[in-house]
Symmetry: C2
Subunit: 491 residues, 2 copies
């Protein structure tokens, strides 16, 4: 007797499983490209990834999927999110999606050349094209209050310009005076290297294991730009990089393991659905920043790990006390480059980009005027003079990809990390003691329960509300910075 | 102005490019699974690979592809091979393809258990199901003279039982008496290890580079079962394994680099078509065996490399002369296990399997009688008594996958390698001198010109005919073995 025909829900689940598979295969291709692929494989890899994306897009927008979504009953998270994904994917004409991909591919070499020659004019027409296409993209979502909302939604579902403007306004109001005070205070001394790279690798793996890395379900490899990728819930690939001059590789590792842990601890019931992954870039970044900064740059953490660090780097650290080490890994210094910025100044780099992106989308700022606007804002927010566009408006690759709307999620990560950190500390009375004993299990379990397991089944705002009892709020992050830096800088 | 609609040939090429991409992505998933994937990734990897295969099968059998194949003019290799692939894929009902995949998946754990418990009865019903499905598969190709031809064709296009029976008959007639003579002669001493694994790795890479490996387009990694995979023409992944007790890893490396070189040296004009890969398993195996055996086990090769080997393994090799080393790497010994067999006895293991597979397909041998038939044939061909099924009928995984028709290609590889070797030696007058100087370029170029560059644009028989001036012929292989072993064994 043949099997009964699948129900609409079974058919829907099979289609979503396939979409999830395709996305993860694409992720593996990207991971391999950054870690394993010989250089000669590059062009063919680009073609293979484009083919996979085209097939995935075809299937994500297949009218037969739409019919199934009408046939299934109910409004459980699987169906709700699938309907949302389908609707958003269908809104964007294939021709526009193709033009966006093409414009991004064209813009990247122009951006590289512009940066190399420190000549924004080379990049400007390509950026104009990218911005124009993003405006057309935004027009596909006419119900939004602001054209930038459609861009935000790709990375942070349901986020709006209105909310982020408010949150970033409060964040900026708190950050600017604190950073001014810190900048006026004497900077702590920083230990000089070299820090043996093999020893850093060893310590990084020990830290990763303490956080939740396990050999049977993770890998760690080197990559020029560290990232984390979830090939499957039990196949997490983190990457990192080490540099003998500093210990930044340890923090990069904790950051990426934080991302990996989120993916690893989603509910197994969500495997091979489109729910079994992080819900937004902002919530994802909250997980990486929490482990990198709230845990990794805390005094209690190093109470446990500093003896081991000294064992591994005896020469560099022998004359450095735990307290001085803690001060050194928390230096605040207004600077030009976002990716090198510290925990406190970082958000000002993001606020600058957010303001400029919104102005570009609103049409109140022309691409040609971007360098001037950039430099003025750097002066205003960070008190820094920008010597050239290479270290200014041309520093990030995101706009060459046409990716407007991504930057804000970095700061949302800092904000949400501090909210979760505050809630976890309140819930787990002895969190400091446990971390000082090297025990991450209580924090890991709390995050698993309140954030990780939900995957995409809860929206970002729901996760924040349920975990912290309130909405997105920059105050805990500001309180956290005040509480950390005032004693460190003796303000 | 919009672009003109693609011509049927352009549309066909786009579809074939996509099929090629999907196949290579599947290859990368397999490579990663064997080399990089943490154990936990296994189940999800199986699902992802099945999804990719399903999508590739859908697209390979899409009626729209059939229409394009009717619309395009001409009979150039691209169109001819695409028509052949489409026709063969369409002949097999999706339901049967699914049943074959399922039966193979079910049979593998049964085979593992049967092997572990040395109990063929555990595996027998699963093998029966596999054989039954292969019979149904063969029925999809009623024009074939023999049902086994349809199975052969999957690995060796246009090969037939009739031709292989003839060739294997002549091969067996020459091999059996030679091996009997060798077995009666005293065996040469073999150098005892240990051979430092790091030093083996170093030498293996040097040998690989001499053959044609280059860092910008290849990788080499460890795998339990060595294999080669072409992620792209300029992204060749070979794998190997080392064992401190012997130098077999060097030969495994040369073998896999031979496979890799074939894929690497296909004509770049065939990139992203379905022609840019090896034409058959037999021709592929000829490339691996040629480098492993004809080159790698020759005296001239080691004239160049033995001093380096002695430098790397001073203790193990200090008392071993070049001539004794050459004898040691060419020991012939009838034995139980195919994958451990030497160059001379190997083909008898294959002939045994071919005879049994054909009898299974013809229905003249029942699965239940397979162990007895196996043991009788081992005695007849190799003079060996089989002590248990684990070291007999249960030793190979192929039948658990349902793969009947694959084994013959291993021997075709030996035969074709010797034919090509003879032709190359005649064409390149000073080949021995060049190899003795460590220079593989003339041989590599000759193989590139006569075999590699064609990819699938020529059929196996055409490649053999054009390169050697005649059809598939076991005589050069027999001559090669006679010329090598008579002096070595002083017969």
């Amino acid at each position: 007797m043949p099997d009964a025909a699948p129900t609409p829900l079974e058919a829907l689940r099979a289609r979503l499983a396939e979409l999830d598979d395709l996305g993860r295969v694409g992720g593996l291709l990207g991971w391999d490209q950054q870690t394993m692929m010989p250089a000669g494989g590059g062009p063919a890899r680009g073609e293979a990834m484009a083919t996979l994306e085209r097939i995935a897009h075809e299937r994500a927008t297949d009218p037969a999927l739409g019919e199934l979504l009408e046939q299934v009953d109910g409004d459980d998270p699987l169906v709700r999110v699938a309907r949302r994904d389908y609707d958003r994917a269908r809104r964007v004409p294939t021709e526009l999606a193709g033009a966006m991909a093409l414009a991004a591919a064209d813009a990247q070499p122009a951006w590289l050349e512009a940066r190399e020659k420190d000549d924004f004019a080379i990049f400007a027409p390509f950026l104009e094209r990218n911005v124009e296409l993003r405006r057309r993209y935004a027009e596909c979502f006419p119900e939004a209050d602001h054209p930038y909302d459609a861009l935000l939604d790709r990375f942070e579902p349901d986020a709006t310009v209105e909310e982020i403007r408010d949150v970033f306004g409060r964040l900026r109001a708190g950050l600017v005076p604190l950073i001014e005070e810190i900048a006026a205070a004497p900077a702590p001394p920083e230990p000089a290297g070299p820090f043996d790279v093999a020893a850093q690798r060893e310590l990084a793996l020990e830290l990763a294991r303490a956080i939740g890395y396990a050999d049977d379900a993770w890998r760690i490899d080197d990559a020029v730009h560290p990232f984390a990728s979830s090939v499957a819930r039990t196949d997490i690939r983190v990457t990192t990089r080490f540099d003998a001059d500093s210990l930044t590789g340890l923090f990069a590792t904790m950051h990426e393991v934080g991302h990996g842990l989120y993916e690893h601890a989603t509910d197994p019931a969500l495997d091979r659905t489109t729910l079994g992954t992080g819900v937004s870039m902002g919530i994802h970044e909250s997980q990486s920043r929490l482990w990198e900064n709230c845990v990794g740059r805390s005094l209690v953490w190093w109470r446990h790990w500093y003896p081991r660090a000294r064992e591994l780097f005896p020469t560099a650290l022998e004359a450095v006390s735990l307290e001085d080490f803690h001060r050194a890994i928390n230096v605040v210094r207004p600077s030009l480059i976002r990716v090198e910025a510290d925990e406190a100044t970082y958000s000002l780099h993001v606020i600058l980009r957010f303001d400029l992106e919104v102005a570009l989308m609103e049409g109140t700022l022309a691409v040609a005027d971007l360098p001037e606007a950039w430099n003025a804002k750097m002066k205003e927010l960070l008190g820094v003079d920008v010597p050239d566009d290479r270290r200014g408006v041309l520093q990030d690759i995101h706009w060459a990809f046409g990716e407007l709307g991504y930057f804000p999620t970095y700061s949302l990560g800092n904000i949400v990390a501090a909210q979760l950190w505050k809630a976890a500390r309140a819930a787990l009375g002895d969190l400091d003691d446990r971390l000082a004993a090297g025990d991450c299990a209580p924090l890991r379990d709390w995050l698993g329960e309140h954030v990780h397991r939900h995957g995409r089944a809860l929206m970002p705002a729901e996760i924040i509300e349920r975990a912290t009892g309130g909405p997105l709020d920059p105050q805990p992050f500001l309180d956290y910075l005040e509480a950390k830096y005032r004693p460190l800088y003796r303000l």
